[in-house]
Amino acid sequence: VLWIGCSDSRVRASGVTASMPGDIFTHQNIIANQFHSFDDNANSVPSFAVSEAVGVDHVVPVGHSICGGVQAAAGAEPNNLIERWSIPLTELIRTLDLSGLDESEALEVATEASINKQVENICSSEPIVTAWAAGRRVSVHGWLYDLATGRIRKLVVRSLPYICSVFDAFKKYFVSVHPTSPLLLTNICFSLFKKLYVHLNKYH
C-alpha cells in the first residue's frame, strides 16, 4: 500500500492503522495531502512505489476532518508560499456550492471534494496511467480520516480500467496460445495501445 497523506501530526499512517515497519509506503505533504500534476516530489513517489522495486497494488490518498490546510485554502489570496501551494485547492473550493452550509459542514464538503480530486489527479499521473496501460492491477482509493472518532471512511476507489484489462487478457491469451512464435504484429498492437492510452489519459 502507498499512503499519500497530510503532514498533520494527528494523522500518522502507521499509527491509525496499527501497522508495522514494512507495511505502508508513505508520502506526506502539507495542505490537505495535495497531488499536483506539476509536483515532482509527489509524482516521484508513486513512480517508485508502483515500480517493480516496491510493487504496491494500492495507492491511497487520505484526507482528514478539520484540516487546517483546507480551511486556509477556502479563504486564501495567494500572497505567500503556503497559499501558492493551495491555489489548486482554493480554485476547487470556489467551484463548490456551499450555500446554506455552516462552517463545519462546508469544511467537510470541501475536504471530501479535495480527496476525490486528488484521486483523479493520481489516476491521471504518469506512473498510474503507464501501469494501467501495461495491465498492472493497481487501485487508487480515496479515504477520509475522522479526527474526532479515529476512524477511516472509504470515499471512492478506482481500479484498472476495463479496456486495459481486456487488452491484458488478449495479450495473455495470445502468449498462452503461441508461446514460441515471435508475435511481432501482436507486440506492435499492444505497444501502440499502451502509447495511445497513456497519451489520452495522462495529464499534460
Binding site: V1, S9, R12, T17, F25, N41, S139, H141
Partner: protein
C-alpha cells in the same frame, strides 16, 4: 480485483480506534481540537521507516514530510511549505532530517551515476522520479567511491545525503529567518540515520543558531 491489503488496514484502524477509546475515552475528541507537535520529521517514504512506530510516538507528537530519499530541495514548494508551516505556524522546536540504511532511492542514484560513468553518451529518461533524484545523482558523481565495496559506497551516499539535506534546510528562508531573529522560538536542525538492521537511530549532525 482483491482489496484485501486495504481492507486489512481498515479493519486494523477500527480495532486501534476502539482500543484507544477504551484506554482514554476522550483522546480523539481532544485531538480534534488542535495540534502542537514539537518536532518536524523529514524522512524517506520507505515503508520500513514509519516515524511514529520507530519512535513510539502518539498522534499529535510529530509533524511529518516524507518523500523519496528524504530530500529537501530549496526550489521544492512541497517541502518548503511543510517547513514554513511547521516553523512559523505550528511552532516546532526541532527539525529532524532522517535518512536510513539500504535506501532504495540512494541505491538508484548510485546505479545511475555508475551507468552515466560507463556510458558517457547516454542520458537519463525524463520522468518525475529521475528529475526528483537528479541533485542526489549529481552529488554521488562528486564523491570519491573508489576502493569502496557496494555496501560501503551506499552507506557513504546515505550519510553524505543526510548532511547535504541538513545544509539545504539550514539555508532555507524559515530557518535563516528564525536564526536571525533573537526573539524567534529556538529551532534546532538535526541529521539522523536510521539503521534498518538494528532498528536504532544515530545522530550524525546537529545545527542551531550558534553554529
Amino acid at each position: 480485483m482483491s482489496h484485501e491489503s486495504t481492507q486489512i488496514l481498515l479493519n486494523a484502524n477500527e480495532e486501534w480506534a476502539q482500543s484507544v477509546i477504551k484506554d482514554i475515552p476522550d483522546f480523539f475528541t481532544q485531538s480534534a481540537t488542535g495540534q502542537s507537535p514539537k518536532v518536524l520529521w523529514i524522512g524517506c517514504s520507505d515503508s520500513r521507516v514509519p516515524e511514529s512506530v520507530i519512535t513510539a510516538s502518539k498522534p499529535g507528537d510529530i509533524f511529518v514530510h516524507r518523500n523519496i530519499a528524504n530530500q529537501f530541495h530549496l526550489n521544492d514548494d512541497s517541502a518548503l511549505s511543510v517547513l514554513t508551516y511547521a516553523v512559523k505556524v505550528v511552532g516546532v522546536e526541532h527539525v529532524v532530517l532522517v535518512g536510513h540504511t539500504n535506501c532504495g532511492g540512494a541505491a538508484a542514484c548510485l546505479k545511475a551515476a555508475e551507468d552515466a560513468a560507463a556510458n558517457t553518451g547516454a542520458s537519463q529518461p525524463d520522468t518525475p522520479l529521475t528529475r526528483w533524484l537528479s541533485p542526489l545523482i549529481a552529488h554521488v558523481q562528486s564523491l570519491d567511491l573508489s576502493g569502496c565495496s557496494t555496501s560501503e559506497a551506499l552507506n557513504k551516499v546515505v550519510e553524505t545525503n543526510i548532511i547535504m539535506q541538513v545544509d539545504n534546510i539550514c539555508k532555507s528562508e524559515p530557518i535563516t529567518t528564525a536564526w536571525a531573529n533573537p526573539n524567534s522560538k529556538k529551532v534546532t536542525v538535526h541529521g539522523w540515520v536510521y539503521d534498518l538492521s538494528r532498528g536504532r537511530i544515530d545522530e550524525l549532525v546537529c545545527r542551531d543558531a550558534q553554529a
